[in-house]
Symmetry: C2
Subunit: 438 residues, 2 copies
Amino acid sequence: MRLSRYFLPTLRENPAEAQIVSHRLMLRAGLVRQSAAGIYSWLPLGLKVLRNIERIVREEQNRAGAIELLMPTIQSADLWRESGRYDAYGKEMLRITDRHEREMLYGPTNEELITAIVRDSIKSYRDLPRNLYHIQWKFRDEVRPRFGVMRGREFLMKDAYSFDIDKAGARKAYEKMFVAYLRTYARLGLKAIPMAADTGPIGGDMSHEFIILAETGESAVFCHGDLVDYDILGQEIDFEGDLGPIIERWTGLYAATDEKHDEARFEADVPAEKRIAARGIEVGHIFYFGTKYSKPMGAVVAGPNGEPVDLEMGSYGIGVSRLIGAIIEASHDDNGIIWPESVAPFKVALINLKSGDATVDAACDKLYAQLEAAGIETLYDDTAERAGSKFATADLIGLPWQVHVGPRGLANGIVEVKNRKTGERREVAIDQVAAALG
Amino acid sequence: MRLSRYFLPTLRENPAEAQIVSHRLMLRAGLVRQSAAGIYSWLPLGLKVLRNIERIVREEQNRAGAIELLMPTIQSADLWRESGRYDAYGKEMLRITDRHEREMLYGPTNEELITAIVRDSIKSYRDLPRNLYHIQWKFRDEVRPRFGVMRGREFLMKDAYSFDIDKAGARKAYEKMFVAYLRTYARLGLKAIPMAADTGPIGGDMSHEFIILAETGESAVFCHGDLVDYDILGQEIDFEGDLGPIIERWTGLYAATDEKHDEARFEADVPAEKRIAARGIEVGHIFYFGTKYSKPMGAVVAGPNGEPVDLEMGSYGIGVSRLIGAIIEASHDDNGIIWPESVAPFKVALINLKSGDATVDAACDKLYAQLEAAGIETLYDDTAERAGSKFATADLIGLPWQVHVGPRGLANGIVEVKNRKTGERREVAIDQVAAALG
């Protein structure tokens, strides 16, 4: 993409309303623009990151056997009366009355709707297990929206719902999502630690939050330091096989959020030098809640002997839009964002150091065509800005690689390639750049 | 995908509430499920079609130089007061009050919001032209939702907005979208005819609707028969070049919707045997409306001499979710849907005619693996249903190709390949199937 034809409204100044670094950088780098309190428009660069995150989340859900569908944003209040949550949910639920005075709501979550769909469609244990998910905008009417997309009102969430004939099946479904989540965060370049958690308004018996350690996290968390070094991506995982050993490894060490924290146990179980007491950002939450929704809503199937069985359920959420904030909190420096390659909006910033110079323009145009032909997504800064300003923009928006093309290097057939994360620069022959970055 | 692990709740009976064939088939084939009046959940098969349509729409927008972003569903009422439309829009707008008693609304369209974004970001004619689009859920509170997704309340729309410094630029932007729309519908397997149209509540000076001819169309349309045979896909198109000849060809023959129809001109301009008076489904609408929003909202840039210039604008909508209904109206038979390959949820239905027979199961499993390895998306019916029931389901859901694998053919290393559209069947050696369908 040529920057001269793109829409990338960056800001030079730090916006006064932004209290945390990810919010500041998202506004300055032209990723989002606030359109109302806690409600954001995703500008082209931000949307590309959002779609990349969404794709990774989707791939890992599919890998674990979950099936994607899409439920609407607007739901009927009557459905929520069946579970008893319409009155219980409180003011975070955006309640709406349509032109016929029917009570509706903007879904903050989808347990009721998915349970109704499954109730009407699945009649036999033979059609189980199933795990159905969607990636859809939700609305929670936060009393005080802040921190940008980290605590917005309209936000993108992946929510999956598992349906099983018995508790053993439900546990297996829970374990699959547990492992899928570990893989998802790792692919996003994040160190997410599963922690025992309260179940909150979703309700249920077994629950983990996935937490990123960050100074600006909203809650205090406590864990064993070894968890930070655990890695999941090296492993071949058979989701139909026994996931027990992986679960045990990741839950065997102390890790708890504030609500579940037990200081005495923490001190007893974790050597002093391994104790981490920090702040954390919740980027996912998984629940097992048995028949909490299936029983009141009549989601019953015929069991092996024809007997009616209430479905065993769990739900599994990832805050997709919030993850962008979390990734920036975890990966930035004084100059701007540092995107992990897996989610970067473009891989390369191609910088023309002397736009208007025929030789440099021609070399840049040719290199741009080569990079695109090689499938390397490139943002080509072909604008008339000064070189210093282009460097600052490239650092701010945080693409993994920069290629600096100027007259002096070109005289020797050379360009400079800079790694945004390490700052390392090296000279590369211009006809080798595509191969070097491919 | 193995059908035994998928979520495809088909219906045997025609649902009583469905008045038109696309609505009936979408419910029966398990594409959607109604969750409230005019509000649908997209089941896995329907979502795959929706995403395929969305991808084609996106590719053609990008090809024409439009840039994707994403605006939120919920907007502030104040923004709509700036243009004067908050009071004017009427009951189709879903109005919402949040917990702080602020007036909000679920966006039925986005002229105001995009104008505000551009107003805050683009300050000079040098940053023009720009065409910004998004693909987002909209809500229009239809008084009587019907015909399934064809006239739903929550629907997916692609809406693009062009910004230019002068009328000549705006016309060029309009022409690009005109041609992009022709390409989009052609790739979807649809014959869409551009027709002069009223501008309705969006307002403006120049406007075309893109209309699919179908018996169940909501409005009467009149056109020259040659337009039905026009083709756009064979042409190489340079969107930066002169699009005039293409526009003239497609607008040179008579074509008008009811509101703009002039019977006398129709009879004078079109020979009797070429006159088509039919019913049509609107699948797109493009508008040029000049400074209708930029002027009241103060979207002004500095022109070449520093003088303030009101932005010239147009907007360009495609009803993405409605297109699924339109495609089915245009492409079905008594047995079910016939998907064009470009949007089919899977390319192949692999049918095991004797599940449980070890030889047939093994041959199917192997063929399924080969098809998937070849990148051919396959829905593998490995269920215990009878062969007749499997055939009926495959015809109903309308995948372009069926592969029938049974014991008799396998004895000779042969399977039957059926084309859903033509009904043609031929015998293919089992090890040639992937190559034949690739």
